[in-house]
Amino acid sequence: MRIAGETVGTRGIALLSVAALVGLVLGAHGWSSRHHGLPPAGLSGGQPSASASPASSRSAQPGTSPSASAAPAQGPPSAGTPTPTPGPKLSSQSYAAYSFVVWPGTPSPAAQAAETGLTITVHKQGTGISVAAGAAGQPLPAARYYPTGVKVYVIEASMGDDSGNSDFNLGDDGLVVTDSQGRILQ
């Protein structure tokens, strides 16, 4: 068979047919799971951010309400609110090498780069902090309250999908909150 002046034999046709079928199967899988596969912390909100600049808002004023577009922060948990159960240590996870501290303290340049395309807000509230994170330009999910002593990390496995102020693939981004002993709360 000749395609644009080049000959493709029967084995080539067979190979392309198999590839086409495999592609269709993979595509069907991708279509069926198009609402899944988001980072554990739900950073992407279902879509990547390709236009917004990194933003991280922190308030040192206890009880200060988030400014402007920040999500409404929840108050300290009431008696009926379950406290997060500590999970494994962050240091034992495969993505520990890609985690960058956002809170407490001033984020390093690497952490700021990792925040590209994300909006992470951390506010002191009462005796703890409230944390909200999402894709930049998208509505933030409700903030969650954590007791004092926790640390907030941003995960960015690959900076290669960040360009300028855009993160074209949030599939390798995430947010992790650990307790004072480094165990993952979120």
Binding site: L26, H35, G37
Partner: protein, 170 residues
């Protein structure tokens, strides 16, 4: 004394070489043989490169396309941010990404196997050109854009490739 000893010794050595034609004659072929061996090695390396570099380029470009095609197919929701002019949250964007991923996968198989290589490379070049233009418009000339310019160059090179090794033939 010791300062003068060096130059004197060197001078003696040079004069001894001049005075000994047999020694000079034996040294010259040794150098010629060495340079010939070097030339042979370089020539052989150049021959191997000329023979296999287009194949390496073909396979590497195919792997790049296969990687992106596969990931666009299995997680299209993570790539909708690249689709120009369409809301990233829409299902239409998902469909476009899936279609793009399927085409990339087919191109990858064709390029790696060497099937209609120049045509496949030309289509890949058009797709990459569209990506470069879109990225330039949306984000300017960034590291990401320039990286794709390099891949575009690789695809363009393969559109003119006439000699390939390790291709699937009928």
């Amino acid at each position: 004394m010791s300062r003068k000893a060096g130059p004197v010794t060197a001078s003696r050595t040079q004069s001894a070489r001049k005075a000994d034609p047999a020694r000079r004659a034996s040294a010259a072929p040794a150098r010629t043989a060495g340079s010939a061996a070097d030339d042979g090695l370089v020539g052989r390396a150049q021959g191997i490169a000329a023979e296999w570099a287009p194949t390496a380029a073909r396979i590497m470009l195919g792997l790049v396309l296969a990687w992106f095609g596969y990931h666009e197919l299995i997680q299209p929701q993570l790539w909708t941010g690249y689709v120009p002019g369409v809301t990233a949250t829409s299902e239409f964007a998902i469909v476009l990404v899936l279609g793009h991923g399927w085409v990339l996968l087919m191109l990858a198989v064709a390029i790696i196997a060497g099937l209609a290589l120049r045509l496949a490379a030309a289509i890949a070049a058009v797709l990459l050109l569209q990506i470069v233009i879109t990225l330039t418009i949306t984000g300017g000339l960034t590291d990401l854009t320039l990286r794709d310019v390099g891949v575009l160059g690789l695809a363009l090179c393969l559109t003119g490739s006439t000699r390939q090794r390790a291709v699937l033939t009928s």
